[in-house]
């Protein structure tokens, strides 16, 4: 084969591929949102003199060009495939798969942060609730890393040290151990959260400690057959979609949820969210600073305040049958300084139901 023919053979396929991708990139209309990554995509920045001179236009254009590149999702999957399968990396974007379930490598245990956060929570309870006769309870939620990381040799948090530190630093509250009430199959394989239909035993442990009766006859409802959780999107690994269920009962059907931010009253489950950015927002409409669940079926007048994170959205409904009113506070979005204004102390049970990532962080709890 002569040199010219070889050169054409070498050049043409690459040139065709390159030109095709260029044209596609230049002509493709911009998308607004990446459903798998659960984030808005950068848009074409406006060309202004001062933005160009400051370099902001260039930075924004780089974000736009990368975000809006054609075939974004297949390319993300290709990258993960190469990292995971060809380069043999054990995690992709810190997400690994063990026992068929995806989990994230957690930040290392930081005793100082855990102590600080525990002190903050203690101050919240003692300054606001204790005088009203409230009793505090503390349950640390075992996340997926608790069941997978040590067992399969993944780095991250020292869970034993974490649990010991939290228990030692939350002496103001009655400790509730959930670790033996759950196992890895109680969690979505593609998401960080637990499955509501699998956490009955953990809910019962909480109820036993709180001293309330939450027994109910539940109906298991299929919400979606093709739920792909946050880890599926973040890692772009070929994790099979899975069914998502939610539990209903007469009591839950009659309960209402008031959200102080949106000033809206809804039901326990927000079915519209099933088709939104995060289907897990089905439970209590997702992340919220302050919500109150009213349960007209309970006439004891007993109230519960739960300081929670996203795991609480699917757990709190299971505790509703035991209370007339359940207040949900997410201290990541709600300043504890506002508690007297919105959550008057009236001798409520106070449950701190948090996952390790919240306590093992700096400045996340307000």
């Amino acid at each position: 084969m002569n040199a010219k023919k070889t050169a054409y053979l070498r050049l043409l396929p690459v040139a065709i591929l390159f030109c095709g991708l260029c044209l596609f990139a230049w002509l493709k209309p911009a998308d607004d949102f990446s459903l798998t990554e659960r984030r808005p995509l950068a848009q074409m920045p406006e060309l202004k003199g001062d933005e160009v001179l400051s370099g902001d236009f260039m930075t924004d254009f780089e974000d736009y060009a990368t975000d809006q590149f054609p075939l974004r999702e297949p390319f993300r999957k290709l990258k993960s495939f190469i990292q995971f399968n060809l380069l043999g990396q054990k995690d992709v974007n810190d997400i690994y798969i063990a026992q068929g379930s995806a989990a994230k490598i957690e930040d290392p245990f930081n005793e100082k942060w855990v102590q600080q956060n525990a002190q903050k929570l203690q101050a919240v309870f003692e300054s606001h609730f204790q005088a009203g006769g409230s009793k505090a309870f503390f349950a640390l939620i075992p996340d997926k890393g608790f069941y997978l990381a040590d067992k399969y040799g993944y780095p991250g948090m020292d869970h034993k040290a974490m649990w010991e530190a939290v228990e030692q630093n939350t002496g103001f509250a009655q400790w509730i151990d959930l670790t033996g009430r759950l196992d890895i199959t109680d969690y979505y394989t593609t998401d960080s959260h637990w499955r509501q239909e699998c956490i009955g035993e953990a809910a019962q442990a909480l109820a036993d400690a709180l001293g309330v009766d939450i027994s109910q006859v539940y109906t298991e409802n299929l919400a979606r057959e093709d739920f792909a959780g946050v880890y599926a999107g973040q890692s772009a690994l070929p994790l099979p979609a899975e069914p998502m269920y939610y539990l209903t009962s007469e009591v839950l059907n009659g309960a209402t949820v008031f959200d102080f931010e949106t000033n809206k009253t809804t039901g326990i489950y927000d079915l519209e969210e099933l088709w939104g950015r995060d289907p897990y927002d089905l439970f209590l409409s997702g992340a919220a600073a302050l919500q109150v669940i009213e349960n007209p079926a309970c006439d004891t007048g007993r109230e519960l305040v739960i300081f929670r994170d996203s795991f609480g959205s699917s757990m709190a409904p299971l505790l509703v049958p035991g209370y007339s009113k359940v207040t949900l506070v997410d201290l990541r979005y709600f300043s504890s300084m506002l508690l007297p204004q919105f959550v008057p102390a009236q001798g409520q049970d106070v449950l701190f139901l948090l996952s390790p990532g919240i306590l093992n962080s700096v400045n996340l709890i307000k």
């Binding site: 230049w26 780089e62 990368t66 390319f75 380069l87």
Partner: protein, 462 residues
């Protein structure tokens, strides 16, 4: 703008290619100059003024030196060129370092806090090579400002080299061949260089970040870090040089090689004949030989080597760890010349290469340290000092996770793959296989860029 970015690969590059090949030859350098200025101004528009000033000064001094060559005036203009070029480099690169050191001696001066313009070390050395070569009579002065501007600012090698000497491309600026053969070789070079940077160097960079953030440091992890950094900087730097040479070929230029499998070297002096060859050549021709080179008395030779390597260290960054890094090589090269050279030549290859690799790893750890104390901690960790455990669960995990990549990088840093390709090239299947591999690499690189992989820029301090 980085080569390893979507805006460069899929917006800037097609635009410059279309316009470059549309215009007649007499406008091609103007197109290159215009796009090179856009390329440079993309990240730091304000430094376009500095770049333009440097080009203008280099061009004017070159004309004056050429006009008065052989007279005292030429020497005067050369001195002015060297002083102004090094003055600008000194201010923008070394002002803060100098003030910090003066303050350490007891002064209380305010830090000027000067930001380092990207690529200033590269284009300053190119301008100096031009004016010196014109003075020496090795090159004619360039009459066209556009041609000279294109030479200084040419985007393929502007921010990460290789340092192109004017004499090497003077003729090509006036007339060069564009052909399918050359372009196809350029495309191959560019795609392979991009893959070296994005698929290997950037992934190794992630391991380095993990080491820095480690909560369980261990001796194993420090060695993994040292190996990962040495390989990262090699694949990053040689990948950029590959891309530059490839782009140069597409635009008709033949740029000189910058790397030649340095990690297979049997001596430190051989390593420096294979690593960043354009910088080594520059210091050899414009500093070392004018100082007398090696044809001097031993003491003077030691001084020459120390001077060149202290400057080489400082060229890489304004910090003492770079100076120490340079002086380490000065000491090694001196020891090789006077003490070890003959013995090393007689030893079996592996017996020489292994200790050389260990020394190189230590040198790169020193190079990458953010401070002398960090350098001491890292090097101490490699030697088992500092009470680090031999291994930790974390280091074992990352060894499992990055082991294959490290092995691939080690193999890729030797001529094995190249030799295999050369052998396969003789077969007919290669003609089909090669474009398939290149397309696959382009797709893989694009996937990593779209997926937002770790993409550091290692040359900000050069």
């Amino acid at each position: 703008m980085l080569f390893s970015s979507i805006p460069f690969a899929y917006y800037f590059l097609p635009a410059v290619l279309v316009l470059y090949f549309l215009v007649p030859f007499r406008f091609k350098n103007a197109v290159l100059l215009a796009f090179s200025l856009v390329f440079y101004g993309w990240g730091e528009p304000v430094y376009l003024i500095l770049m333009t000033l440097s080009i203008l000064m280099g061009w004017v001094f070159g004309l004056l030196i050429g006009k008065y060559r052989g007279t005292k005036r030429a020497k005067l203009f050369l001195t002015a060129s060297v002083v102004t070029s090094l003055g600008l480099l000194g201010w923008f690169k070394y002002a803060d370092f100098a003030v910090e050191n003066l303050n350490a001696l007891g002064l209380n001066l305010a830090l000027p806090r000067v930001a380092l313009p990207i690529g200033i070390s590269f284009y300053t050395f190119q301008i100096l090579s031009y004016t010196i070569d014109v003075y020496r009579g090795n090159a004619e002065s360039q009459k066209s400002l556009v041609n000279f501007g294109a030479y200084v600012s040419m985007f393929p090698q502007l921010i990460a080299g290789p340092i192109v000497r004017y004499a090497d491309v003077a003729r090509q600026l006036e007339s060069r061949e564009h052909s399918v053969e050359k372009a196809s070789l350029g495309v191959r070079r560019f795609v392979i260089g991009l893959a070296k940077k994005v698929l290997i160097a950037n992934q190794l960079g992630q391991l380095i970040e993990l080491y820095r953030a480690s909560s369980q440091p261990s001796v194993l992890f420090v060695w993994m870090y040292a190996a990962a950094f040495a390989l990262q900087i090699y694949f990053d730097f040689s990948g950029y040089s590959y891309m530059a040479i490839g782009l140069g070929k597409i635009f008709g230029f033949d740029l000189l090689e910058n790397f030649n499998y340095p990690f297979i070297s049997r001596s430190i002096s051989e390593f420096w004949r294979r690593w960043h060859m354009s910088l080594g050549g520059w210091f050899r021709d414009y500093v070392y030989i004018p100082l007398g080179g090696n044809r001097v008395k031993p003491l003077r030779y030691v001084f020459n080597v120390l001077a060149v390597w202290a400057l080489t260290g400082l060229w890489h960054g304004a910090a003492w760890n770079f100076v120490l890094w340079g002086l380490l090589f000065a000491a090694l090269l001196t020891a090789e010349k006077f003490l070890l050279g003959k013995a090393m030549a007689k030893l079996p290859g592996w017996l020489v290469r292994v200790p050389i690799l260990v020394v190189l790893l230590i040198s790169f750890v020193l190079f990458n340290a953010s401070s002398l104390s960090q350098a001491a901690a890292d090097v101490g960790g490699m030697l088992g000092l500092g009470g680090l455990p031999a291994v930790s669960a974390e280091s074992l995990y990352y060894l499992r996770s990055y082991g294959l990549l490290l092995v691939m990088a080690v193999v890729g840093a030797t001529p094995l793959v190249k030799n295999l390709a050369l052998r396969l090239e003789k077969g007919k299947a290669f003609a089909i296989l090669e474009p398939v591999v290149l397309c696959a690499l382009l797709l893989a690189v694009t996937a990593f860029l779209v997926g937002g992989s770790f993409n550091p820029f290692l040359y900000f301090r050069f």
